[in-house]
Amino acid sequence: MTIDEIISKIADVMVDVFDVDDLDVTSATSADDIEEWDSLSHIRFIITLERQFKIKFLNEEIANLKNIGDLARVIQSKLPA
């Protein structure tokens, strides 16, 4: 899966997790851009991603992500080649 394909799938997840429509998600999107993205919805976000992509994150992998692009790269590294 390409980074763009992953970001597109992440964007679908974000609509449900943050309960907002019309999100314009790019690799530069971060928690600062989305009002509903707080520490609690972040937990829901992570576990929904784990379910959608059938992966499991380690805490250290997601502790220092800056934006959706970083997140997509971590996901890509965990998907079967």
């Binding site: 449900d16 520490s39 609690l40 937990i43 829901r44 576990i47 929904t48 805490n59």
Partner: protein
Amino acid sequence: MFADLAWLQDPPADFRARSKAVRADLAGTAIEERLAELASVRLDLNQLGQVAGLVASYLAGTPPPGPLARARLGVVGAGTLALLEPAIAASALRHRTLLTVVGGAYGSAVPDALDPASPVRSAGIDLALVVLDHRLTGLDRPLLGAGEAAAAVERALATVTAMVDGLAASAPGGVLVTTVPVPPEPLFGSLDAVEPGSVAAQVTAFNSALAHMAAGKRIVLVDLARVAATVGTDRWFDAGQWHAAKLPFAPELIPLVADVVARTVAALRGVTRKCLVLDLDNTLWGGVIGDDGVDGIALGQGSAAGEAFLAVQATALALRDRGIILAVCSKNDDAVARTPFRDHPDMVLKENHIAAFVANWGDKATNMRAIAAALNIGVDALVFLDDNPVERAQVRRELPMVAVPELPADPALYPRALLAAGYFEAVAFAAEDRARADQYRANAERAAFAGTSDMAGYLASLDMVADMRPFDAINRARIAQLINKSNQFNLTTRRYTEAQVAGLEADTAKTTLQVRLTDRFGDNGMISVVIVDRAGGDEWAIDTWLMSCRVLGRRLEEAVLAHIALAARAGGATALIGQFIPSAKNAMVADHFAKLGFMPAGTAADGTTTWRLDLAGYTVPDLPMRIDSTVA
């Protein structure tokens, strides 16, 4: 099966659109049923959050009473519970309850419980929930010195007891406490079960003490340790999520935990299913009786299929023995449908176990309505077990308030799917429950008997004996249960806890009455509860009057009035004052006082009506029963 709530259907693909449609129409008609329908499927954490938001928005508009019960639940406990709290509110819709959940601040469970001014205790809650785990209770490390472990368990119990006492002062409806799941990591290994200092042994000892507290009615147990064991503690405990976010258990299990809490809360509020309606072909036996005949259906020892259906029947019978009414709803000729009950040697269920037997070629939704009407219970008290997805869909579409579990392909798993759903959750079990299924069946027989004679002759022929006495400790649990469960024949729908009922027994300004009725068909058990407030001196006010709908049309209300009126007159009163407070379910008693000869004495803005009976003009009617009265 448990972790993925397998008894629920997948959510519709357009769930989000449906949810938004409900949000746009929160003042619309039948909105409570639409909310309940939205939550009737398997929801993930995000969807549960969305539905909880809808519930909160709806309740924020302070809507008038509707078909769903309402309650406010305060939640305190271990770790991060802010994801669980909205999930409980959303799951409560599945159990016909609109729940406002008030969560405490992270890490402040003990002060939230002990401080009367804490945000949780000052939020006007009815109920409180304490979510425990081994870390909050200090049972999280081995204590191998002599007596150390016992002391730790005592300390944990003392803390929880203080929390319960604090919360109980602000939550009149009761305090729910979870048991503590046993962490899977062994210290010694199997010896953990033997060595009291192991974490496993400490937690187990603590849980036993909690169960003892629950048996003493101080708390209502939510047995999370059992839930964790059912899904596996290896899966339950997610160390990564504990370290990262202090989630006390794996977030994938929040939907299950929320549903378990919600069903217990609903049961505590008296909302629970009462009747299991069974399909026959391929549900109670393998094959089609009309095609295969008594010799051809799969039922009984000797084949895996036959034993699986035996297990379904045994499950139904076990439910009946704890007070769940059984009914049959089958597309069959009546005589054919009854043949196995009469002629098949391996049938566990017999005709006399079935309170309402409906076999015809009509649609099942219509028949479900008829069953509810015949048993005098609400359609929302029914659970429908049917292997056929088409029938399930038809009943769900026509009667979304009926609980209809999805069933797995293998009949061997039917019992687990039915029981895992928790439709029949109970917070108490009284001797009365054991006899209830018989009472409903006897009622059906009485109804058939009534068809053959005039009313007065019929009532006289019943040989009724009404036993009337004040509240007492022996019957306290049953009295409290009736006060909290009766909805239809309930003039004021005032709910009192068991502790409050105990207080009424000793209250010299109250006259209380419990009524039992027996007749030629059997013991109907306790069928009426009355609380009269004598504070008004020569005017006695009826605070609470409820009756079981099983005994409607038996002139029992006249007998109860006679008892109260004579007691009031003997006590120097000149009048009885009655009150009718309308609820979503008690319209049937709107004219109760008028029928008994009371005169209207006012109507309040909320529809509450007040009634007055002048005792000077009252005479006791001739009643078709014997009255055995005991005076305090």
